[in-house]
Amino acid sequence: MWPLKWKQREQRYRQERADFFAAVKRLDRRAFLKVASMAAAVTTAKTVLPPHSFQLIDVVRASEDEKPLFQFAYISDTHLYERRLNERFVKAAMRAVEDVNALDPQPDFVLFGGDLAQLGQPQELELGKQILSELKAPVKMMVGEHDWFLDMGEKWQELFGPPNYSFDHKGVHFIVLMSVNEKDFWTARNMTPMERMKTVAGLDNPIQSRFEVGPEGRQWLKRDLAGVSKETPIIVFSHSPLYKYYRPWNFWTEDAEAVQEILFPYRSVTVIHGHTHQLLTNRIRNIHFHGMLSTAWPWPYAPEGLPKLTVQMDRADPFDEADGTGDGTVDVYKSGYVDKHYNLWSRNPITVAKAYLESWGKEARPPAPQFPSY
Protein backbone atom coordinates (compact mmCIF):
# COMPACT_ATOMS: atom_id res chain seq x y z
CA MET A 1 0.00 0.00 0.00
CA TRP A 2 2.67 2.46 1.07
CA PRO A 3 4.83 2.36 -2.13
CA LEU A 4 1.72 2.97 -4.22
CA LYS A 5 0.74 5.97 -2.17
CA TRP A 6 4.20 7.34 -2.47
CA LYS A 7 4.11 6.85 -6.23
CA GLN A 8 0.87 8.75 -6.49
CA ARG A 9 2.32 11.53 -4.49
CA GLU A 10 5.39 11.66 -6.64
CA GLN A 11 3.29 11.71 -9.78
CA ARG A 12 1.24 14.56 -8.47
CA TYR A 13 4.40 16.40 -7.57
CA ARG A 14 5.90 15.91 -11.04
CA GLN A 15 2.69 17.12 -12.63
CA GLU A 16 2.66 20.24 -10.44
CA ARG A 17 6.24 20.88 -11.28
CA ALA A 18 5.64 20.51 -15.00
CA ASP A 19 2.66 22.87 -14.83
CA PHE A 20 4.75 25.30 -12.92
CA PHE A 21 7.49 25.49 -15.52
CA ALA A 22 4.97 25.62 -18.34
CA ALA A 23 3.37 28.59 -16.66
CA VAL A 24 6.68 30.30 -16.10
CA LYS A 25 7.31 30.35 -19.84
CA ARG A 26 4.13 32.29 -20.63
CA LEU A 27 4.17 34.40 -17.54
CA ASP A 28 2.84 37.91 -17.43
CA ARG A 29 2.33 40.00 -14.35
CA ARG A 30 -1.24 38.96 -13.76
CA ALA A 31 -0.41 35.29 -13.99
CA PHE A 32 2.40 35.82 -11.58
CA LEU A 33 0.39 35.43 -8.38
CA LYS A 34 -1.12 32.20 -9.64
CA VAL A 35 2.27 30.76 -10.37
CA ALA A 36 3.54 31.99 -7.06
CA SER A 37 0.93 29.90 -5.28
CA MET A 38 1.81 26.89 -7.41
CA ALA A 39 5.42 27.38 -6.46
CA ALA A 40 4.34 27.40 -2.84
CA ALA A 41 2.59 24.06 -3.36
CA VAL A 42 5.68 22.58 -4.92
CA THR A 43 7.77 23.94 -2.09
CA THR A 44 5.46 22.34 0.44
CA ALA A 45 5.93 19.04 -1.30
CA LYS A 46 9.62 19.56 -0.85
CA THR A 47 9.44 18.38 2.70
CA VAL A 48 8.52 14.83 1.61
CA LEU A 49 10.66 14.65 -1.51
CA PRO A 50 14.32 15.14 -2.31
CA PRO A 51 15.19 18.84 -2.33
CA HIS A 52 15.62 20.57 -5.65
CA SER A 53 17.13 23.87 -6.51
CA PHE A 54 14.61 26.11 -8.23
CA GLN A 55 13.30 29.20 -6.51
CA LEU A 56 10.56 31.66 -7.16
CA ILE A 57 13.14 34.26 -7.99
CA ASP A 58 13.71 32.59 -11.37
CA VAL A 59 10.09 33.36 -12.17
CA VAL A 60 10.46 37.04 -11.47
CA ARG A 61 13.46 37.29 -13.72
CA ALA A 62 11.76 35.41 -16.52
CA SER A 63 8.68 37.60 -16.24
CA GLU A 64 10.55 40.79 -16.85
CA ASP A 65 12.63 39.45 -19.66
CA GLU A 66 15.49 41.20 -18.00
CA LYS A 67 18.53 39.68 -16.41
CA PRO A 68 20.40 41.26 -13.55
CA LEU A 69 23.53 43.09 -14.60
CA PHE A 70 25.67 41.58 -11.88
CA GLN A 71 25.66 40.13 -8.41
CA PHE A 72 27.47 41.00 -5.23
CA ALA A 73 27.45 39.05 -1.97
CA TYR A 74 27.27 40.27 1.61
CA ILE A 75 28.49 39.17 5.01
CA SER A 76 27.56 41.33 7.98
CA ASP A 77 27.60 41.79 11.75
CA THR A 78 30.07 39.05 12.68
CA HIS A 79 30.66 40.59 16.16
CA LEU A 80 33.94 38.75 16.65
CA TYR A 81 35.50 38.27 20.03
CA GLU A 82 38.97 36.83 20.25
CA ARG A 83 38.94 33.16 19.37
CA ARG A 84 39.94 31.97 22.85
CA LEU A 85 36.93 33.73 24.43
CA ASN A 86 34.33 32.79 21.85
CA GLU A 87 34.62 30.28 19.00
CA ARG A 88 30.97 30.40 18.02
CA PHE A 89 31.08 33.77 16.29
CA VAL A 90 34.42 32.96 14.65
CA LYS A 91 33.03 29.76 13.18
CA ALA A 92 29.94 31.55 11.94
CA ALA A 93 32.07 34.17 10.17
CA MET A 94 34.13 31.41 8.56
CA ARG A 95 30.98 29.65 7.44
CA ALA A 96 29.88 32.82 5.65
CA VAL A 97 33.25 33.08 3.92
CA GLU A 98 32.87 29.47 2.76
CA ASP A 99 29.35 30.18 1.48
CA VAL A 100 30.52 33.13 -0.58
CA ASN A 101 33.58 31.31 -1.90
CA ALA A 102 31.30 28.48 -3.03
CA LEU A 103 29.20 30.80 -5.21
CA ASP A 104 29.55 29.92 -8.87
CA PRO A 105 29.91 32.20 -10.69
CA GLN A 106 31.72 34.31 -8.12
CA PRO A 107 30.08 37.63 -7.16
CA ASP A 108 31.69 40.80 -8.51
CA PHE A 109 32.58 41.79 -4.95
CA VAL A 110 31.62 41.13 -1.32
CA LEU A 111 30.20 43.82 0.93
CA PHE A 112 31.12 43.52 4.57
CA GLY A 113 28.29 45.26 6.41
CA GLY A 114 29.98 46.45 9.63
CA ASP A 115 30.33 45.26 13.24
CA LEU A 116 33.25 43.04 12.38
CA ALA A 117 34.35 43.19 16.04
CA GLN A 118 32.27 42.93 19.22
CA LEU A 119 34.17 45.50 21.30
CA GLY A 120 36.39 47.24 18.74
CA GLN A 121 39.56 45.68 20.12
CA PRO A 122 42.63 45.48 17.84
CA GLN A 123 42.82 41.68 18.17
CA GLU A 124 39.16 41.34 17.18
CA LEU A 125 39.54 43.58 14.13
CA GLU A 126 42.71 41.80 13.06
CA LEU A 127 41.06 38.41 13.43
CA GLY A 128 38.21 39.69 11.27
CA LYS A 129 40.56 40.96 8.63
CA GLN A 130 42.30 37.61 8.58
CA ILE A 131 39.03 35.69 8.15
CA LEU A 132 37.80 37.99 5.38
CA SER A 133 41.14 37.74 3.59
CA GLU A 134 40.13 34.17 2.69
CA LEU A 135 37.44 35.53 0.36
CA LYS A 136 38.19 35.01 -3.31
CA ALA A 137 36.22 38.04 -4.51
CA PRO A 138 37.29 41.60 -3.65
CA VAL A 139 35.87 42.95 -0.36
CA LYS A 140 34.26 46.34 0.26
CA MET A 141 34.46 47.20 3.94
CA MET A 142 31.91 49.18 5.93
CA VAL A 143 32.27 50.23 9.55
CA GLY A 144 29.81 49.57 12.40
CA GLU A 145 29.54 51.05 15.87
CA HIS A 146 31.11 47.96 17.46
CA ASP A 147 34.25 48.60 15.37
CA TRP A 148 34.44 52.30 16.15
CA PHE A 149 33.77 53.40 19.71
CA LEU A 150 36.76 51.95 21.57
CA ASP A 151 39.33 54.13 19.81
CA MET A 152 36.99 56.20 17.63
CA GLY A 153 37.90 54.28 14.52
CA GLU A 154 41.66 54.51 14.74
CA LYS A 155 42.46 50.81 14.37
CA TRP A 156 39.67 50.18 11.87
CA GLN A 157 40.91 52.98 9.61
CA GLU A 158 44.47 51.75 9.91
CA LEU A 159 43.32 48.31 8.68
CA PHE A 160 40.66 49.27 6.16
CA GLY A 161 41.01 52.94 5.19
CA PRO A 162 38.52 55.82 5.40
CA PRO A 163 34.95 54.99 6.48
CA ASN A 164 33.38 57.14 3.72
CA TYR A 165 34.18 56.29 0.11
CA SER A 166 32.54 55.62 -3.22
CA PHE A 167 33.21 53.67 -6.40
CA ASP A 168 31.58 53.01 -9.76
CA HIS A 169 30.75 49.54 -10.97
CA LYS A 170 29.04 48.60 -14.26
CA GLY A 171 27.13 51.86 -14.44
CA VAL A 172 26.07 51.97 -10.77
CA HIS A 173 27.49 54.53 -8.34
CA PHE A 174 28.20 52.86 -4.99
CA ILE A 175 28.57 54.89 -1.81
CA VAL A 176 29.81 53.54 1.51
CA LEU A 177 28.53 55.93 4.15
CA MET A 178 29.64 56.13 7.78
CA SER A 179 26.29 56.41 9.60
CA VAL A 180 27.06 55.39 13.19
CA ASN A 181 28.44 58.64 14.55
CA GLU A 182 27.09 59.65 17.95
CA LYS A 183 27.10 62.96 19.77
CA ASP A 184 29.51 62.97 22.71
CA PHE A 185 27.80 61.39 25.74
CA TRP A 186 31.04 60.12 27.31
CA THR A 187 33.15 63.18 28.19
CA ALA A 188 30.65 64.64 30.64
CA ARG A 189 30.32 61.20 32.25
CA ASN A 190 34.07 60.72 32.47
CA MET A 191 33.89 57.35 30.74
CA THR A 192 36.91 55.26 29.83
CA PRO A 193 37.14 54.21 26.16
CA MET A 194 35.95 50.70 27.11
CA GLU A 195 32.99 52.09 29.07
CA ARG A 196 32.07 54.15 26.03
CA MET A 197 32.39 51.10 23.79
CA LYS A 198 30.25 48.92 26.03
CA THR A 199 27.60 51.60 26.33
CA VAL A 200 27.26 51.80 22.55
CA ALA A 201 27.41 48.00 22.27
CA GLY A 202 24.38 47.66 24.57
CA LEU A 203 21.44 47.88 22.19
CA ASP A 204 19.00 48.77 24.97
CA ASN A 205 21.38 51.09 26.80
CA PRO A 206 19.54 54.43 26.92
CA ILE A 207 22.57 56.53 27.92
CA GLN A 208 24.08 56.67 24.44
CA SER A 209 23.17 59.16 21.73
CA ARG A 210 21.39 58.21 18.53
CA PHE A 211 23.21 57.30 15.31
CA GLU A 212 23.75 59.99 12.73
CA VAL A 213 25.62 60.61 9.52
CA GLY A 214 26.30 64.04 10.95
CA PRO A 215 26.88 67.40 9.24
CA GLU A 216 30.35 66.48 7.98
CA GLY A 217 29.19 63.16 6.58
CA ARG A 218 26.30 64.85 4.81
CA GLN A 219 28.67 67.42 3.35
CA TRP A 220 30.89 64.62 2.13
CA LEU A 221 27.88 62.89 0.59
CA LYS A 222 26.81 66.05 -1.25
CA ARG A 223 30.30 66.60 -2.56
CA ASP A 224 30.56 62.98 -3.69
CA LEU A 225 27.26 63.17 -5.55
CA ALA A 226 27.97 66.56 -7.11
CA GLY A 227 29.53 64.99 -10.19
CA VAL A 228 27.00 62.16 -10.55
CA SER A 229 24.16 62.42 -13.07
CA LYS A 230 20.62 62.18 -11.66
CA GLU A 231 20.03 59.23 -14.02
CA THR A 232 22.86 57.18 -12.55
CA PRO A 233 21.60 54.41 -10.26
CA ILE A 234 22.84 54.87 -6.71
CA ILE A 235 23.44 52.10 -4.16
CA VAL A 236 24.32 53.22 -0.64
CA PHE A 237 25.93 50.93 1.93
CA SER A 238 25.21 52.16 5.45
CA HIS A 239 25.48 50.37 8.76
CA SER A 240 22.45 52.02 10.37
CA PRO A 241 19.17 51.83 8.39
CA LEU A 242 19.08 55.49 7.13
CA TYR A 243 15.47 55.75 8.27
CA LYS A 244 13.73 55.80 11.63
CA TYR A 245 12.53 52.41 12.79
CA TYR A 246 12.88 52.12 16.60
CA ARG A 247 14.68 54.77 18.61
CA PRO A 248 15.26 52.93 21.94
CA TRP A 249 17.43 50.32 20.18
CA ASN A 250 19.13 52.73 17.80
CA PHE A 251 17.44 51.03 14.84
CA TRP A 252 17.56 54.62 13.80
CA THR A 253 19.43 57.41 12.06
CA GLU A 254 18.78 60.75 13.72
CA ASP A 255 19.39 62.82 10.57
CA ALA A 256 17.72 60.28 8.25
CA GLU A 257 15.43 62.88 6.65
CA ALA A 258 18.33 65.16 5.78
CA VAL A 259 20.22 62.26 4.20
CA GLN A 260 17.15 61.07 2.26
CA GLU A 261 16.66 64.62 1.00
CA ILE A 262 20.11 64.45 -0.59
CA LEU A 263 19.20 61.14 -2.28
CA PHE A 264 15.63 61.88 -3.48
CA PRO A 265 16.69 63.72 -6.68
CA TYR A 266 18.31 60.57 -8.09
CA ARG A 267 16.20 58.34 -10.29
CA SER A 268 16.86 55.13 -8.38
CA VAL A 269 18.41 54.70 -4.96
CA THR A 270 18.94 51.49 -2.98
CA VAL A 271 20.19 51.39 0.60
CA ILE A 272 21.69 48.16 1.93
CA HIS A 273 22.19 48.35 5.69
CA GLY A 274 23.46 46.20 8.55
CA HIS A 275 22.90 46.55 12.30
CA THR A 276 19.37 45.16 12.57
CA HIS A 277 20.18 41.42 12.20
CA GLN A 278 16.84 40.59 10.58
CA LEU A 279 14.89 40.51 7.36
CA LEU A 280 13.89 44.13 6.91
CA THR A 281 12.34 45.90 3.93
CA ASN A 282 11.28 49.49 3.44
CA ARG A 283 10.63 51.99 0.72
CA ILE A 284 10.47 55.78 1.02
CA ARG A 285 9.63 57.42 -2.33
CA ASN A 286 12.35 56.35 -4.74
CA ILE A 287 14.60 54.83 -2.08
CA HIS A 288 14.46 51.06 -1.52
CA PHE A 289 15.91 49.80 1.77
CA HIS A 290 17.11 46.27 2.57
CA GLY A 291 18.56 44.93 5.83
CA MET A 292 21.21 42.27 6.11
CA LEU A 293 21.42 39.13 8.23
CA SER A 294 24.05 38.80 10.92
CA THR A 295 26.26 35.74 11.05
CA ALA A 296 26.31 35.92 14.87
CA TRP A 297 22.71 36.12 16.12
CA PRO A 298 19.29 37.41 15.02
CA TRP A 299 17.55 40.32 16.70
CA PRO A 300 13.88 40.35 17.64
CA TYR A 301 11.66 42.74 15.72
CA ALA A 302 11.16 45.95 17.67
CA PRO A 303 7.80 46.37 19.47
CA GLU A 304 6.80 49.22 17.15
CA GLY A 305 7.88 51.14 14.07
CA LEU A 306 8.36 48.15 11.76
CA PRO A 307 8.08 49.37 8.13
CA LYS A 308 4.82 48.20 6.54
CA LEU A 309 6.56 46.56 3.61
CA THR A 310 8.59 44.26 5.85
CA VAL A 311 7.52 40.63 5.77
CA GLN A 312 9.04 39.29 8.97
CA MET A 313 11.25 36.26 9.14
CA ASP A 314 10.12 33.56 11.56
CA ARG A 315 11.14 33.96 15.18
CA ALA A 316 14.33 32.02 15.71
CA ASP A 317 14.37 28.58 17.30
CA PRO A 318 16.47 28.98 20.44
CA PHE A 319 17.52 25.35 20.23
CA ASP A 320 19.25 25.95 16.89
CA GLU A 321 22.29 28.18 17.17
CA ALA A 322 22.36 29.05 13.48
CA ASP A 323 18.66 29.84 13.12
CA GLY A 324 17.91 33.40 12.07
CA THR A 325 21.49 34.00 10.98
CA GLY A 326 23.17 33.79 7.59
CA ASP A 327 24.54 35.82 4.71
CA GLY A 328 23.27 36.63 1.24
CA THR A 329 23.54 38.01 -2.24
CA VAL A 330 22.18 40.99 -4.14
CA ASP A 331 21.29 40.94 -7.84
CA VAL A 332 21.58 44.40 -9.35
CA TYR A 333 19.50 45.34 -12.38
CA LYS A 334 20.19 48.01 -14.96
CA SER A 335 17.79 50.36 -13.18
CA GLY A 336 19.90 50.04 -10.03
CA TYR A 337 17.12 48.34 -8.07
CA VAL A 338 17.87 44.89 -6.72
CA ASP A 339 16.62 41.45 -5.78
CA LYS A 340 17.78 40.91 -2.24
CA HIS A 341 18.48 37.30 -1.24
CA TYR A 342 18.58 36.31 2.41
CA ASN A 343 20.50 33.07 2.76
CA LEU A 344 19.16 31.88 6.13
CA TRP A 345 21.34 29.06 7.37
CA SER A 346 18.59 27.00 8.96
CA ARG A 347 15.67 27.82 6.66
CA ASN A 348 14.74 28.08 3.04
CA PRO A 349 16.31 31.17 1.51
CA ILE A 350 14.02 34.19 1.15
CA THR A 351 14.10 36.68 -1.69
CA VAL A 352 12.73 40.19 -1.51
CA ALA A 353 12.35 40.86 -5.21
CA LYS A 354 12.73 44.19 -6.95
CA ALA A 355 9.15 43.71 -8.21
CA TYR A 356 7.90 43.61 -4.62
CA LEU A 357 9.18 47.07 -3.79
CA GLU A 358 8.48 48.52 -7.23
CA SER A 359 4.83 47.50 -6.86
CA TRP A 360 4.69 48.81 -3.27
CA GLY A 361 4.13 45.27 -2.04
CA LYS A 362 1.39 44.27 -4.49
CA GLU A 363 3.44 41.71 -6.37
CA ALA A 364 6.03 39.08 -5.56
CA ARG A 365 5.28 39.12 -1.85
CA PRO A 366 7.85 37.08 0.12
CA PRO A 367 6.49 34.07 2.06
CA ALA A 368 4.79 34.95 5.35
CA PRO A 369 6.25 33.80 8.67
CA GLN A 370 4.48 31.09 10.66
CA PHE A 371 5.73 32.44 13.98
CA PRO A 372 5.84 36.22 13.73
CA SER A 373 7.04 38.45 16.51
CA TYR A 374 4.69 39.26 19.40
Binding site: Y81, E87, R88, Q118, G202, L203, P318
Partner: protein
Protein backbone atom coordinates in the same frame (compact mmCIF):
# COMPACT_ATOMS: atom_id res chain seq x y z
CA UNK B 1 -12.79 74.86 75.70
CA UNK B 2 -12.75 76.48 72.33
CA UNK B 3 -9.76 76.84 70.11
CA UNK B 4 -9.32 78.72 66.90
CA UNK B 5 -7.36 76.71 64.37
CA UNK B 6 -6.24 79.75 62.43
CA UNK B 7 -3.37 79.97 64.85
CA UNK B 8 -1.67 77.09 63.17
CA UNK B 9 -0.24 78.90 60.21
CA UNK B 10 2.39 76.29 59.42
CA UNK B 11 -0.13 73.48 59.31
CA UNK B 12 -2.55 75.65 57.47
CA UNK B 13 -0.17 76.32 54.63
CA UNK B 14 0.69 72.66 54.16
CA UNK B 15 -2.78 71.27 54.47
CA UNK B 16 -4.62 74.03 52.65
CA UNK B 17 -2.23 73.94 49.75
CA UNK B 18 -3.49 70.41 49.17
CA UNK B 19 -7.13 71.40 49.55
CA UNK B 20 -6.46 74.36 47.29
CA UNK B 21 -4.95 72.24 44.56
CA UNK B 22 -7.88 69.90 44.78
CA UNK B 23 -10.39 72.66 44.45
CA UNK B 24 -8.51 74.23 41.56
CA UNK B 25 -8.43 71.09 39.56
CA UNK B 26 -11.98 70.02 40.25
CA UNK B 27 -13.62 73.43 39.80
CA UNK B 28 -11.36 74.78 37.16
CA UNK B 29 -11.12 78.03 39.13
CA UNK B 30 -8.44 80.41 37.97
CA UNK B 31 -5.45 80.57 40.21
CA UNK B 32 -5.55 83.58 42.46
CA UNK B 33 -4.33 84.72 45.83
CA UNK B 34 -4.24 82.37 48.76
CA UNK B 35 -7.47 83.85 49.98
CA UNK B 36 -9.20 83.01 46.71
CA UNK B 37 -7.98 79.48 46.87
CA UNK B 38 -9.25 79.01 50.39
CA UNK B 39 -12.61 80.57 49.60
CA UNK B 40 -12.98 78.46 46.51
CA UNK B 41 -12.52 75.44 48.65
CA UNK B 42 -15.06 76.42 51.23
CA UNK B 43 -17.67 77.65 48.76
CA UNK B 44 -17.25 75.92 45.44
CA UNK B 45 -18.38 78.30 42.68
CA UNK B 46 -21.99 77.81 41.61
CA UNK B 47 -22.93 75.76 44.63
CA UNK B 48 -22.15 78.81 46.75
CA UNK B 49 -25.44 80.48 45.80
CA UNK B 50 -27.62 77.58 46.93
CA UNK B 51 -25.74 76.30 49.94
CA UNK B 52 -24.81 78.39 52.91
CA UNK B 53 -21.06 78.46 53.46
CA UNK B 54 -20.10 75.27 55.26
CA UNK B 55 -19.76 75.74 58.97
CA UNK B 56 -16.87 73.96 60.59
CA UNK B 57 -17.64 73.58 64.25
CA UNK B 58 -14.53 74.46 66.09
CA UNK B 59 -12.79 71.52 67.69
CA UNK B 60 -12.15 71.44 71.39
CA UNK B 61 -10.29 69.34 73.88
CA UNK B 62 -11.44 68.29 77.30
CA UNK B 63 -7.94 68.50 78.63
CA UNK B 64 -7.01 71.93 77.35
CA UNK B 65 -4.71 70.46 74.69
CA UNK B 66 -4.26 72.03 71.34
CA UNK B 67 -6.65 70.54 68.76
CA UNK B 68 -5.94 70.92 65.06
CA UNK B 69 -8.49 70.51 62.31
CA UNK B 70 -8.14 70.19 58.55
CA UNK B 71 -10.19 72.32 56.24
CA UNK B 72 -12.49 69.36 55.55
CA UNK B 73 -14.01 70.19 58.95
CA UNK B 74 -13.77 66.57 60.07
CA UNK B 75 -10.17 65.48 60.39
CA UNK B 76 -8.92 66.45 63.81
CA UNK B 77 -5.92 65.76 65.93
CA UNK B 78 -5.30 66.49 69.57
CA UNK B 79 -1.72 67.39 70.46
CA UNK B 80 -1.13 65.99 73.91
CA UNK B 81 1.97 67.95 74.84
CA UNK B 82 0.92 71.36 73.55
CA UNK B 83 -1.62 73.43 75.36
CA UNK B 84 -4.32 75.46 73.77
CA UNK B 85 -3.05 78.92 72.94
CA UNK B 86 0.57 77.80 72.52
CA UNK B 87 2.34 77.93 69.17
CA UNK B 88 3.56 74.66 67.64
CA UNK B 89 7.29 74.61 66.86
CA UNK B 90 7.81 74.36 63.05
CA UNK B 91 9.27 70.82 63.09
CA UNK B 92 6.35 69.55 65.08
CA UNK B 93 3.88 71.46 62.92
CA UNK B 94 5.19 69.72 59.83
CA UNK B 95 4.90 66.33 61.49
CA UNK B 96 1.34 67.02 62.56
CA UNK B 97 0.44 68.17 59.05
CA UNK B 98 1.87 64.99 57.52
CA UNK B 99 0.04 62.74 59.96
CA UNK B 100 -3.23 64.54 59.44
CA UNK B 101 -2.96 64.38 55.68
CA UNK B 102 -2.26 60.64 55.90
CA UNK B 103 -5.32 60.23 58.06
CA UNK B 104 -7.37 62.35 55.67
CA UNK B 105 -6.35 60.17 52.74
CA UNK B 106 -7.36 57.06 54.61
CA UNK B 107 -10.77 58.46 55.41
CA UNK B 108 -11.36 59.04 51.72
CA UNK B 109 -10.85 55.34 51.13
CA UNK B 110 -11.64 52.37 53.32
CA UNK B 111 -9.60 52.12 56.44
CA UNK B 112 -6.65 49.91 55.60
CA UNK B 113 -4.09 48.27 57.70
CA UNK B 114 -1.44 49.28 55.09
CA UNK B 115 0.01 52.74 55.09
CA UNK B 116 1.58 54.70 52.30
CA UNK B 117 4.88 53.71 53.80
CA UNK B 118 4.04 50.03 53.40
CA UNK B 119 3.24 50.59 49.78
CA UNK B 120 6.49 52.44 49.24
CA UNK B 121 8.38 49.54 50.74
CA UNK B 122 6.64 47.02 48.51
CA UNK B 123 7.41 49.04 45.42
CA UNK B 124 11.00 49.72 46.41
CA UNK B 125 11.82 46.12 47.21
CA UNK B 126 10.25 44.85 44.02
CA UNK B 127 12.06 47.46 41.95
CA UNK B 128 15.32 46.60 43.66
CA UNK B 129 14.94 43.02 42.48
CA UNK B 130 13.95 44.12 38.98
CA UNK B 131 17.06 46.31 38.82
CA UNK B 132 19.21 43.43 40.03
CA UNK B 133 17.66 41.26 37.31
CA UNK B 134 18.32 43.96 34.72
CA UNK B 135 21.95 44.04 35.80
CA UNK B 136 22.34 40.25 35.60
CA UNK B 137 20.59 40.18 32.24
CA UNK B 138 23.27 42.55 30.89
CA UNK B 139 26.30 40.97 32.59
CA UNK B 140 27.48 37.59 31.33
CA UNK B 141 30.06 37.19 34.10
CA UNK B 142 27.50 37.70 36.86
CA UNK B 143 25.45 34.72 35.70
CA UNK B 144 28.43 32.49 35.11
CA UNK B 145 28.72 32.92 31.33
CA UNK B 146 32.00 31.95 29.72
CA UNK B 147 31.99 33.24 26.16
CA UNK B 148 31.19 36.94 26.44
CA UNK B 149 27.51 36.53 25.55
CA UNK B 150 24.85 38.12 27.77
CA UNK B 151 21.07 37.80 27.60
CA UNK B 152 20.48 41.36 26.36
CA UNK B 153 22.50 40.65 23.22
CA UNK B 154 19.65 38.51 21.88
CA UNK B 155 16.82 39.90 24.01
CA UNK B 156 17.10 43.72 24.12
CA UNK B 157 14.72 45.02 26.81
CA UNK B 158 13.98 41.30 27.40
CA UNK B 159 12.15 41.16 24.04
CA UNK B 160 11.16 37.67 22.87
CA UNK B 161 11.24 36.13 26.34
CA UNK B 162 7.43 35.86 26.54
CA UNK B 163 7.03 35.08 30.26
CA UNK B 164 3.24 35.31 29.84
CA UNK B 165 3.25 32.09 27.76
CA UNK B 166 4.66 29.80 30.48
CA UNK B 167 4.38 27.02 31.47
CA UNK B 168 4.42 25.59 27.94
CA UNK B 169 5.70 22.60 26.02
CA UNK B 170 9.25 22.87 24.74
CA UNK B 171 10.06 20.26 22.14
CA UNK B 172 13.74 20.04 22.96
CA UNK B 173 13.09 19.67 26.68
CA UNK B 174 10.37 17.11 25.89
CA UNK B 175 8.06 18.45 28.58
CA UNK B 176 6.01 21.38 29.70
CA UNK B 177 8.59 23.83 31.02
CA UNK B 178 8.47 26.77 33.39
CA UNK B 179 9.97 30.16 32.60
CA UNK B 180 12.90 29.36 34.87
CA UNK B 181 13.63 26.20 32.88
CA UNK B 182 14.00 28.32 29.73
CA UNK B 183 16.12 30.87 31.59
CA UNK B 184 18.39 28.05 32.67
CA UNK B 185 18.40 26.60 29.20
CA UNK B 186 19.60 29.91 27.76
CA UNK B 187 22.22 30.18 30.52
CA UNK B 188 23.55 26.74 29.68
CA UNK B 189 23.45 27.05 25.91
CA UNK B 190 23.94 30.39 24.21
CA UNK B 191 25.60 31.86 27.32
CA UNK B 192 27.63 28.71 28.13
CA UNK B 193 27.27 28.85 31.90
CA UNK B 194 26.05 26.44 34.57
CA UNK B 195 22.32 26.33 35.27
CA UNK B 196 21.27 28.24 38.39
CA UNK B 197 19.66 26.48 41.34
CA UNK B 198 15.95 27.14 41.08
CA UNK B 199 16.02 29.05 44.37
CA UNK B 200 19.16 31.01 43.48
CA UNK B 201 18.47 34.70 44.22
CA UNK B 202 19.79 35.47 40.74
CA UNK B 203 17.08 33.29 39.22
CA UNK B 204 14.45 35.23 41.15
CA UNK B 205 15.98 38.49 39.99
CA UNK B 206 16.02 37.41 36.34
CA UNK B 207 12.38 36.36 36.60
CA UNK B 208 11.54 39.68 38.25
CA UNK B 209 13.13 41.65 35.41
CA UNK B 210 11.74 39.51 32.58
CA UNK B 211 8.18 39.54 33.90
CA UNK B 212 8.32 43.24 34.77
CA UNK B 213 9.29 44.04 31.19
CA UNK B 214 6.09 42.32 30.03
CA UNK B 215 3.77 43.79 32.65
CA UNK B 216 0.28 44.42 31.40
CA UNK B 217 0.43 41.73 28.69
CA UNK B 218 -2.45 39.23 29.16
CA UNK B 219 -1.49 35.78 30.38
CA UNK B 220 -1.50 33.25 27.55
CA UNK B 221 0.04 30.01 28.79
CA UNK B 222 0.89 27.57 26.01
CA UNK B 223 1.27 30.17 23.28
CA UNK B 224 4.19 29.69 20.88
Amino acid sequence: MRIRYVKLIMIGVLAISWCGLWSLSSNGAAPGSWMNVILADITPLAAAQQRPPSQHPQPNSENGHLVVQLCDGRTQMEIADVREGEVLPPEKARLVARRMMARYEQQAKQASKWTRRDRLIWKREQQRLVEEGRRLFHDWKAIGGTIGISCDMCHPDAANTHPETYPKFQTQLKRVAALRDMINWCIENPVKGKPLALDDPRMLALEAYITYQRRGVPLDPGKH
